[in-house]
């Protein structure tokens, strides 16, 4: 791999991967905390993803079809319209929440972005 300079060289921020990570205890603490909060956000958003698409759009589509909204049977609406709107919103929420999380833990890339643009 010579063509693309990997992040670690351009960003100049991280220790090379072969070196042991800095060993003071607080270091591992924040890593665990950051990662578990990332995972928690991910699981919540994926649960919404599953309920709206596979739940409302497929598994529960027949009972929901008994309710009509603006001419659409509701299950049909979730299957062909609603789930797609929810997908877009989910990714937006994820990107925004991760911005906040990165900021809070000081691992955001604002300096890189400014330097790069």
């Amino acid at each position: 791999m010579t063509e693309v300079t990997p992040d670690k060289e351009t960003r100049g921020g991280e220790p090379p991967p072969s070196a042991p990570p800095p060993t003071f205890p607080s270091d591992n603490g924040w890593r665990k905390e950051y990662w578990s909060r990332n995972l928690r956000l991910m699981v919540i958003l994926l649960a919404v993803w599953f309920v709206v698409s596979f739940g409302f759009g497929i598994l529960l589509v027949e009972p929901l079809n008994n309710i009509a909204v603006a001419g659409f049977p509701l299950g049909f609406w979730f299957a062909q319209q609603g789930s797609i709107y929810v997908f877009v919103i989910l990714i937006f929420v994820y990107a925004k929440m991760m911005d906040r999380l990165d900021n809070q833990f000081g691992v955001d890339e604002q300096e890189t972005e400014r330097a790069g643009s």
Binding site: Y34, W49, F72, A79, M98, E109
Partner: protein, 559 residues
């Protein structure tokens, strides 16, 4: 020449001139620019490029037609081809961006081993190739209808144009042309849809207004021997709808030509927002498609219901010339309509023409028909170019450079890549002329293969440090073999017998089971063999954090 032909030529030639100009302006010489555009693409532009790359001839040309005939079950394509972006954004894109490598084989090569890289490169080539065939076919249909060529000549013409400009441009050329192509295709899709919605309901927003015609559509569908439009699971059993939707979603998240786009953003944050913009742009078309399907179906049925066979509207005669619309010989009046040639209905309409014919069916003016043709070509070209790039990079970078000639120069590798592209175009022409199935179905098989090979290897590679090379290799090979065997078993594609579906699972849905098999095998084999080396584990740890920590590492940063 008819009005429609003149306008088609004007729009196609005009839009091609723009694409070629952009490709020429941004042509590149070094390898890095050829494959990832030197990571200097703004987030919104990258999102639009992903969207164009993503929305193929299948999305533009076939999907609304498929939905029109599948009715409620058309959701497999609508949810399946959008929901995968949630997985991509949350599970894959930011982490692979942090890893900072060219291609999917590159990632698995670093994460696991050289032999896994080779398996992945071969799988990437097979998947991208299956997908390219669908594009050539789609482009061929556009040319054959609007330029009055037969489908064979149309496919050859489309393939030559697509191939030429992918070979010349590279990724940087492609990214900016794809932005232009997205603009053309979305305008071409939305204008007729808004016009038809206005005409039929008085409300110009198709997403909102197609609810008003559903009751009428249900009624006329039943009258003409079709299923009620909004009835769920009329076309496919529930379990199959579930599995196909899932296979398309995880296939999306594993498709090499989509994943490679996220390397072109500047930062991890940029990768997340690129995924958002991509799905936003895709959703514009995907929420319109079911409306187009419903409106066109209603228009079509009302146009022909009970009409005598010699007084049919002129669009039927126009399309009959391509062989994609047929009026049954014995029919004096049209009482039944189907999309299946063996149904024995009075009028047979191929799925692939509904979008292209919708302006004609609705009686919209000729310039709009020409615009739609240009949009269909834009969709086919942008996707095919992205795919050819994956084929060429997998071949030159992951097979030729790694396996054949380690000391090859940049130029030799570029040449190897271009030769691979050229060969792919030739084989795709052959397969596009003799297609194994409808455009959208051909594409669906590529997804099944991507779902059962790449998705588990990438996700486990990111989220499970203990996952090792032996496990990933075993998982990918079993996933691929399992999925491909079931497809060959159920489809008469390769001259084999078409066996009945086991447990109602269609070949499009088998990728979900293949992915589960892959996950199980990977985890089991990884557990039984030695853990991965320490530095690999450390690399996996590092991709979890977008940047070095400011406060804590302030002291070590200089070191």
């Amino acid at each position: 020449m008819s009005q429609i032909q003149i306008w088609t030529l004007v729009f196609i030639v005009g839009s091609f001139a723009v694409y070629l100009y952009i490709a020429w302006r941004s042509r590149v010489k070094e390898t890095a620019g050829f494959y990832v555009a030197g990571q200097g693409i703004p987030t919104i532009a990258n999102g639009a490029a992903v969207a164009a790359d993503w929305m193929s001839a299948a999305s533009f040309i076939s999907m609304a037609g498929l939905i029109a005939f599948l009715g409620s079950d058309g959701t497999i394509y609508l949810m399946g081809w959008t929901g995968g972006y949630v997985l991509l954004a949350l599970l894959i894109a930011p982490y692979l961006r942090k890893w900072g490598k060219f291609t999917v084989p590159e990632f698995v090569g670093d994460r696991y081993s050289e032999s896994v890289r080779t398996i992945a490169a071969v799988a990437a080539i097979i998947i991208s190739f299956t997908y390219v065939v669908g594009q050539m076919r789609g482009g061929g249909i556009v040319f054959s209808r609007f330029l009055k060529l037969d489908v064979t000549q149309g496919v050859i013409l489309a393939a030559v144009i697509i191939g030429l400009y992918a070979v010349l441009g590279g990724m940087k050329g492609i990214t900016w042309t794809q932005v232009a192509q997205y603009s053309v295709l979305i305008v071409a899709y939305l204008i007729p849809a808004f016009a038809v919605a206005q005409q039929m309901t008085g409300i110009p927003v198709p997403q909102v207004s197609f609810g008003q015609i559903l009751a009428e559509l249900d009624a006329i569908s039943v009258e003409m021997g079709l299923n009620q439009y909004t009835e769920a699971f009329a076309a496919r059993p529930q379990i199959d709808v579930f599995l196909v939707t899932m296979a398309l979603m995880i296939g999306t998240a594993g498709l090499p030509h989509v994943i490679v786009r996220f390397y072109t953003t500047k930062t991890v944050r940029g990768a997340r927002y690129s995924a958002f913009w991509a799905l936003f742009f895709i959703a514009l078309l995907y929420t319109t498609a079911p409306a187009v399907g419903a409106f066109t179906k209603l228009n079509l049925l009302q146009d022909v219901n009970g009409i005598s066979a010699d007084a049919l509207p002129s669009w039927i005669e126009n399309w009959a010339a391509t062989g994609l619309v047929t009026v049954s010989d014995g029919a004096s009046t049209i009482n039944t309509v189907s999309n299946s040639p063996v149904s024995g209905a009075d009028l047979i309409v191929n799925n692939d023409i509904l979008v292209l014919a919708s302006p004609e069916i609705a009686g919209l003016p000729a310039p709009i028909v020409g615009l739609v043709a240009a949009g269909g070509m834009a969709a086919a070209m942008s996707t095919a170019a992205g795919l050819l790039l994956v084929i060429s990079s997998s071949f030159s970078h992951d097979l030729y450079f790694r396996r054949v000639k380690r000391d090859s120069t940049d130029q030799q590798r570029l040449l190897a890549g271009r030769i691979a592209m050229g060969l792919a175009v030739l084989v795709a022409i052959y397969a596009g002329i003799n297609p194994p199935a409808f455009v959208a179905q051909v594409v669906a098989f590529a997804f099944g293969l991507a779902a059962s090979t790449f998705f588990p290897a990438i996700v486990l590679g990111i989220f499970w440090k203990r996952c090792n090379a032996t496990g990933a290799a075993a998982g990918m090979v079993t996933g691929l073999l399992f999925t491909a065997s079931y497809m060959i078993y159920t489809l008469p594609v390769f001259g084999t017998a078409a066996n009945p579906h086991i447990l109602d699972i269609s070949p499009e849905g088998i990728g979900t089971i293949g992915a589960i098999v892959n996950f199980v095998v990977t985890i089991a084999v990884s557990k039984m063999t030695a853990p991965p080396p320490e530095e690999t584990v450390e690399m996996v740890e590092n991709i979890r954090y977008p940047a070095a920590r400011r406060e804590v590492t302030a002291g070590t940063e200089a070191a």
